[in-house]
Symmetry: C2
Subunit: 360 residues, 2 copies
């Protein structure tokens, strides 16, 4: 390991682990007969995108037109914008369609007509299905709306119906492969029955836990997987059972600013603006970041030692049992997507800078 | 109001309200005989800093050496770094001391000696007092440590003891002026008794609720106020009672991406990467952002309508009772410091861009 001089919160990315995660999920998708169309919101890096391209990926998923634009600048030309279309996106889409084949999430027939009228090139549209999670898309039982959308697309020249998509965030509440399977089986049933009803449709599943643990037989009938977080994973995914700590590829190194040996506590230079305020509960205590010990290629969790409070730039590390004499603390982030979003680069373990996009 | 075309989450800053907040707290400090040395972590903008300079402020407070460096580049030369000193800061401090008078938070006598040896110019140091909040600093009863620090500073040529500082985050749990007074009275008592013990010491109080509601008689004996959030305020401060909604100067405008009229719900383009995941509870439901209606200079809260769930870029607005036909929704942020941190500029209500620093 060749780290730079660290005097502020610094993201460390283990390229080998990251590439392993990419290959593992690519293999899982292939074995299940699915296309992997990963969500790039997690890493937001053209360089990491190339690692994913090396694993055979050609089509990608993003969550905004500005993110699409960033990746288009890196030569990606088959982009799904996995966010409900709204009309203020139009100007961005008109630029994007010059170099990219676009796949859009559309919920209203009037919007299909609007896009057909205002875009120049053909585009695909996807019906996002809400399986009962209550976020976005068309309710899984609202066949009237699905029929209307598909029927409208058939009479519009530029618009092709591609299929259905579900991101079922409920799998992030699961613990262990069996619970993940159980939670996600509802969404898989919904997609299967939609495929029976609309045989021309492709069906796509979006969450990281499913893509990480479901077996080919569980995924039978699925056409596409679009997870994002799997490139890095994080402490939340370790708790869910999507991965082990040995798979986590992203850590944040924080300088120790003050030690309270008697109270097994330390004050870290690392706050909400470096980690995000996402947390999980650990025995009813908030965990904003799990301490780990890092030596050579071995990483172990320092059980019971985690960040229990965050101000803007202060992090309170509680339960510290050893190594408080160190100047730096390694933290496994709770939610790597949000932590990565707060930084403008990663450091590889060889000290090299890996650029990323900032500010979504 | 002259807003730009908005197709993504956009911060709107009301300059008039912001300047009023600055003047109000400057007047309060003056009436209480205190110096106002505001914390600049909230706005992180050289332009807003000039508005504060116009109110007579010359010394400022920041939370990192990089933030100090940013404001030093704008001509600020009397800077308190309100974060426990740690040795990896040294190189940054050596650059800063070339143009700035520095005031540092130091907890260890060895660190005073280290600074005395390694810095070129004289510097002030402050003892941060932990009044029982459990974040950083020296415990309010640890006189042995205070004596050691003050004694050490007396024999070191470059190092001058300035005084004591308390940021009591417990006032953020209060509701109403009376509770704020009650909560903060403990910290004020601690500072007063320290001043009795060490008459040469200046004493400083750091939280926004106190600076916003305490009367001169409550602040008797205090020498300095260092609040940060008061320039913008936010929905949390409205709930605490530090201000009214009419004082809030920062809003975020989010495009509506999907409407669910039957369920009084809308999906907004605005997620954790635009708002931060800070929330307050509203009748046991998480509120990540309060909807307001904005017309001319009138802003009213849309009672019961707030963001109840956030993904990375999706925000679920629940309880929507009207105006869902609008393409844009105005949100009063829960915690303006963290929301502002996620953006690289503000828009004034006349459409003008106000630059700010990004990534702490």
């Amino acid at each position: 390991m060749k780290l730079p001089f660290i005097n502020k919160p610094t993201l460390i990315l283990d390229e080998k682990r990251c590439r392993n995660n990419i290959q593992n999920v690519a293999d899982r998708a292939k074995n299940a007969g699915c296309i992997l169309r990963p969500h790039f919101k997690t890493h937001q890096s053209l360089e990491i995108a190339e690692w994913i391209r090396s694993a055979g990926v050609t089509g990608i998923t993003v969550s905004s037109t500005s993110m699409a634009n960033y990746f288009a600048s890196g030569g990606w030309n088959d982009i799904t914008i996995a966010f409900p279309f709204f009309r203020a996106q139009l100007n961005d889409l008109k630029k994007l369609e010059k170099t990219c084949k676009l796949r859009l999430f559309v919920n209203e027939t009037a919007d299909l007509e609007y896009l057909n009228q205002n875009l120049v090139n053909p585009f695909d549209f996807v019906i996002e299905i809400d399986p009962g999670f209550g976020r976005s898309g068309v309710d899984h039982q609202n066949y009237e709306q699905m029929n209307a959308l598909i029927h409208t697309s058939e009479i519009l020249e530029k618009c092709s119906f591609h299929g259905f998509y579900i991101h079922d965030g409920r799998s992030y509440q699961a613990k262990g492969a069996n619970q993940i399977k159980k939670v996600i089986s509802t969404s898989i049933s919904v997609l299967k029955s939609l495929k029976n009803k609309y045989p021309q449709a492709s069906v796509s599943l979006g969450d990281t836990p499913s893509s990480s643990v479901l077996e080919p037989e569980d995924l039978e009938g699925m056409d596409e997987l679009t997870p994002g977080n799997f490139v890095f994973y994080d402490w939340m995914q370790v708790q869910i059972g999507s991965c082990s700590l040995d798979d986590v590829a992203l850590f944040i190194v924080l300088p120790v600013a003050q030690r309270f040996e008697n109270q097994k506590r330390a004050m870290l230079h690392g706050g909400a603006v470096h980690l995000s305020k996402d947390f999980i509960f650990e025995n009813e205590i908030q965990n904003f970041g799990q301490q780990v010990s890092f030596s050579l290629s071995d990483i172990v969790a320092d059980e019971g030692s985690f960040i229990t409070a965050l101000s803007q730039e202060h992090g309170t590390l509680s339960g510290v049992t050893h190594k408080t004499g160190d100047d730096l603390v390694w933290i496994c982030p709770i939610h790597s997507c949000l932590t990565a979003n707060l930084h403008d680069h990663y450091r590889a373990t060889d000290g090299r800078k890996i650029e990323k996009r900032i500010l979504s």
